[in-house]
């Protein structure tokens, strides 16, 4: 029987009423949980796990439910990102750039609808990829060693140099701040504390959620407070709650490219899920930002990272299911869940538990459809947040930030840190330094350092290892091109003008 025959059987599994209910419940819980950053899918899954173990649900149903939470939360997070500028995952930091700009232009409805559609497209395409290429891709992903990861990080930095269009110098300053923040904590290879000042609570470094919510949400609250009494920004009329066919057609290629890039980057265990949307957004900006609208509220700027992050989230299941290697923190929890249900992930999963693998694939398809059906009508409900009076909204955002950060580690210390980063974010915004590159530095910095040091440890100190494989050499060529081509084009234009 070929893959599609199996997939049909998978649909037979997924279409059982109970499993449909599981998929629906999963995406619903995921959406709600995702709206509040900090709690996140990891905690939701971990809290549900013991309940699932005890209740004796069949493994495929349990997996369908948990996977539903996983990608439901991916979408849920885009809601608070777009409406309130409170991103809770690395991928939604990218969505915040154009998503929040759209909200301020009064197009929050379109942005949310586009996010839902993009999630659906990205997720659905990635499932096709999962069904068709899972075993082959898994083999490809493990060939991706430290040197290749390092090259990929360098590429991400190079491609994102002008991420939010505030000029190269300010972008570099912001990235530098991010890298500096990233160096706090135990050094990843030898566990030597750096910039911890003997404070145990800094040993794990600065938590992504703490920094992000401080920089984005708390600084937003400060800005809103400052504007109090002047024009009311939150009173912007939300004109529509759907995207027009024309807008959809305009974004079609962006959606496809975003899904594709997200998928291939997402397959890579360890880093993929994190940087899929960064890389996709950067590429898209280079390819199609001909009018300079990216970063100022372009629907495609929402479509690309959302498609990419959902596609990457699905692709991250490939190394988990076929190799038993989790590609992200959430899939690591899913791995624990699978083992607890007596399903051993790995190459034998598809043979030994076909109903689990194909049922999951089919249910992910249904889950994505549920996600779209659930969220498109709800967009008009969500955008009403913006018509909340300011006396409610400002403390609301502040309260939500505190809860979200406290939920991560139950630590008051983190709250103090968050407020500190809020002030930092406020100052940076006052001098128009973009915030997204700070997060980029914070997230990619440690990955880059770890992989560089691993690569050098593997080669016994020979720097040649960084370019020795065709794969890494290819990525370096791309990196060079992404730096030189725009510069060359600019030079060309200037010469022509002379």
């Amino acid at each position: 029987m070929d893959a599609f025959g199996f997939l049909l059987e998978g649909f037979a599994v997924a279409l059982r009423p109970f499993n449909m209910a599981c998929a629906f419940g999963g995406v619903l819980v995921g959406t709600v949980v995702g709206m509040l950053p900090g709690i996140g899918p990891i905690n939701a899954i971990a809290i549900l796990l013991p309940v699932i173990f005890v209740s004796g649900v069949p493994p495929e149903s349990a997996l369908i439910l948990l996977a539903g939470i996983y990608y439901g939360s991916q979408y849920g997070n885009s809601i608070s990102t777009i409406l309130l500028n409170v991103p809770g995952t690395t991928s939604s930091v990218v969505t915040a750039i154009d998503g929040y700009a759209l909200t301020r232009k009064g197009e929050a409805g379109s942005a949310l609808a586009m996010a839902a559609i993009a999630s659906f497209v990205g997720g659905t395409l990635a499932i096709f990829g999962l069904v068709l290429f899972a075993p082959a891709l898994a083999g490809w992903a493990i060939r991706f060693g430290p040197a290749e990861y390092f090259a990929l990080m360098a590429f991400a930095f190079a491609a994102l140099a002008g991420l939010s269009g505030a000029g190269l110098a300010k972008g570099l300053v912001a990235t530098g701040v991010g890298l500096l923040l990233a160096s706090v904590g135990l050094d990843p290879n030898s566990a030597v504390p750096r910039f911890t000042f003997g404070e145990l609570r800094l040993f794990d470094g600065l938590d992504f959620v703490v920094v992000t919510i401080g920089l984005f949400a708390v600084s937003e609250v400060l800005l809103l407070l400052e504007e109090e009494g002047r024009e009311t920004r939150t009173g912007v009329a939300v004109r529509k709650v759907m995207v027009s066919l024309q807008e959809l057609l305009d974004s079609a290629w962006s959606l496809l490219r975003g899904s594709l890039v997200g998928f291939f980057v997402g397959v890579l265990p360890g880093a993929g899920g994190t940087i899929g949307s960064f890389v996709a957004y950067a590429l898209e900006k280079k390819i199609s930002d001909d009018r300079g609208t990216f970063g100022k509220g372009d629907l495609r700027g929402v479509a690309v990272p959302e498609a990419a992050s959902n596609s990457a989230a699905t692709a991250a299941m490939i190394p988990l299911l076929t190799l038993g290697v989790p590609g992200s923190a959430t899939t690591a929890v899913l791995l624990g869940a699978l083992l607890g249900l007596n399903v051993t992930p790995g190459p034998l999963l598809i043979q030994d538990n076909p109903e689990v693998f194909w049922g999951l694939a089919a249910s992910m398809y249904l889950g994505n459809a549920f996600l779209l059906l659930l969220n498109l009508p709800l967009v008009r409900v969500f955008v009403r947040v913006l018509s909340l009076p300011r006396w409610f909204l400002i403390p609301g955002v502040a309260g939500m930030s505190f809860v979200a950060v406290y939920a991560v580690n139950s630590s008051v210390f983190d709250l103090a840190l968050m407020v500190g980063f809020g002030v930092l974010g406020y100052l940076l915004r006052k001098v128009r330094v973009p915030l997204a590159p700070v997060i980029l530095g914070l997230v990619l910095g440690p990955l880059m350092e770890k992989n560089l040091r691993r690569a050098l440890a593997l080669s016994d100190g020979d720097w040649g290892v960084l370019v020795s494989s065709p794969l890494s050499a290819g990525i370096w060529v791309l990196t060079g091109a992404s730096l030189l081509v725009p510069a060359g084009l600019a030079l060309h234009r200037r010469l022509r003008r002379m």
């Binding site: 709600v32 709206m35 509040l36 709690i39 990891i42 905690n43 899954i45 971990a46 809290i47 796990l49 013991p50 005890v54 493990i142 060939r143 991706f144 060693g145 430290p146 990843p188 290879n189 030898s190 566990a191 003997g198 145990l200 609570r201 040993f203 794990d204 265990p269 360890g270 190394p319 190799l323 038993g324 290697v325 989790p326 690591a332 929890v333 624990g336 083992l339 607890g340 007596n342 051993t344 790995g346 190459p347 034998l348 008009r380 409900v381 969500f382 009403r384 947040v385 018509s387 409610f392 609301g396 809860v403 580690n409 139950s410 630590s411 770890k450 691993r454 440890a457 593997l458 016994d460």
Partner: protein, 329 residues
């Protein structure tokens, strides 16, 4: 166009409030037992707390549900500091621990805190260390690998899921030491957890994987991995039962990744005795047996005085090795 009534604007804040309420922890109370997992949900310590907590509840040994609190950070350091400074004398709480805790204490990674600051209660199960290679690796058995290692230490690169000086590094150093290989010559590359270290082996970036039975089990069944030796005193159950122990092969090295608990300092004698009785009943119950098998762990029970001594012996041993290696002054 107004499709929904005005009231619907409350849906969002209401949802937020509900989530907030749902994520709130119940207030501290004298009743009820608590297990602190010094890591995020999903990790080994979390699993220890959740499985043991459930078994205690099922057995009727605990008054009601055992509450699991996650206090992640600093490899267990935050929870350790919390137990010492804020829970001293609290007889209703245990903290999950493993040799990772002991190792960090031995290396002074929990600031000024030491293993003497808490009461080590006992261990109820264990994982054992393994040394594994790719299925088509040139070495038939451990002896062949060690032979090449002795003659050309630079040719062998080991991956593991802990930082330099961590558990996966230590166990391979102990083996090297027993085999007459200079520990400083061992090339160890740290990865983020056993999964990534395993991927590095499968991808051919390293020759040897240093990890635990539970990490290797599934990959061995899938034919992705060949375990050369289990670092245990006796053979383990399950997929690795045909693999010899290092001891059988002439290298008396074992690495016991026990799963156990400690109590905060200053717990009264009565509570301590009660915990010991409960732990004893738990460890010998069929419920725990089942939970242990599901987690693929091996039997290992040690408690009370014996366990205290065991932990303190581990501390001095870890300290000696770390010092020999120049990891600590």
């Amino acid at each position: 166009m107004r499709v929904l009534p005005e009231r619907s604007c409350w849906v969002f804040p209401l949802t937020v409030v509900l989530i907030v309420l749902a994520s709130c922890r119940p207030p501290e109370s004298d009743r009820g037992w608590e297990c602190i997992a010094p890591a995020n949900p999903g990790g080994g310590w979390d699993l220890t707390c959740r499985t043991a907590g459930r078994a205690l509840t099922d057995l009727g040994l605990a008054p009601g549900m055992v509450r699991v609190t996650n206090i992640p950070g600093a490899g267990g350091g935050i929870a350790f500091a919390h137990a010492v400074s804020q829970r001293a004398g609290d007889g209703n709480v245990v903290v999950a621990a493993s040799p990772a805790t002991v190792l960090r204490l031995a290396q002074g990674q929990f600031a000024h805190l030491t293993a003497e600051d808490v009461t080590w209660l006992g261990a109820v199960a264990t994982d054992w260390g393994v040394v594994a290679v790719q299925p088509d690796a040139p070495w038939e058995d451990l002896e062949e690998l060690l032979n090449q290692w002795r003659s050309d230490p630079a040719a062998i690169v080991v991956s593991g899921g802990s930082a330099v000086g961590g558990q996966d590094h230590m166990k391979v150093l102990l083996l090297a030491d027993a085999a007459g290989i200079e520990p400083q010559a061992v090339r160890y590359v740290p990865f983020d957890g056993g999964g990534e270290a395993m991927t590095a082996l499968l991808g051919g970036f390293v020759n040897v994987f240093s990890g635990d039975v539970t990490q290797a089990d599934g990959q061995v069944q899938a034919g992705n991995l060949r375990v050369l030796a289990v670092l245990a005193p006796e053979r383990v159950e399950g997929a690795l039962s045909s693999v010899p122990t290092a001891r059988e092969l002439g290298y008396p090295v074992h690495w016991v990744t026990w799963r156990g608990f400690y109590l905060p300092p200053g717990v009264d004698e009565g509570s301590y005795r009660r915990w010991l009785e409960v732990l004893d009943e738990l460890a010998h119950s069929p419920e725990w047996e089942e939970a242990r098998l599901q987690a693929r762990l091996s039997p290992f029970y040690m408690a009370g005085e014996e366990f205290q001594e065991f932990v303190h012996r581990q501390v001095s041993e870890f300290r000696r090795i770390s010092r020999d290696l120049g990891l600590i002054p």
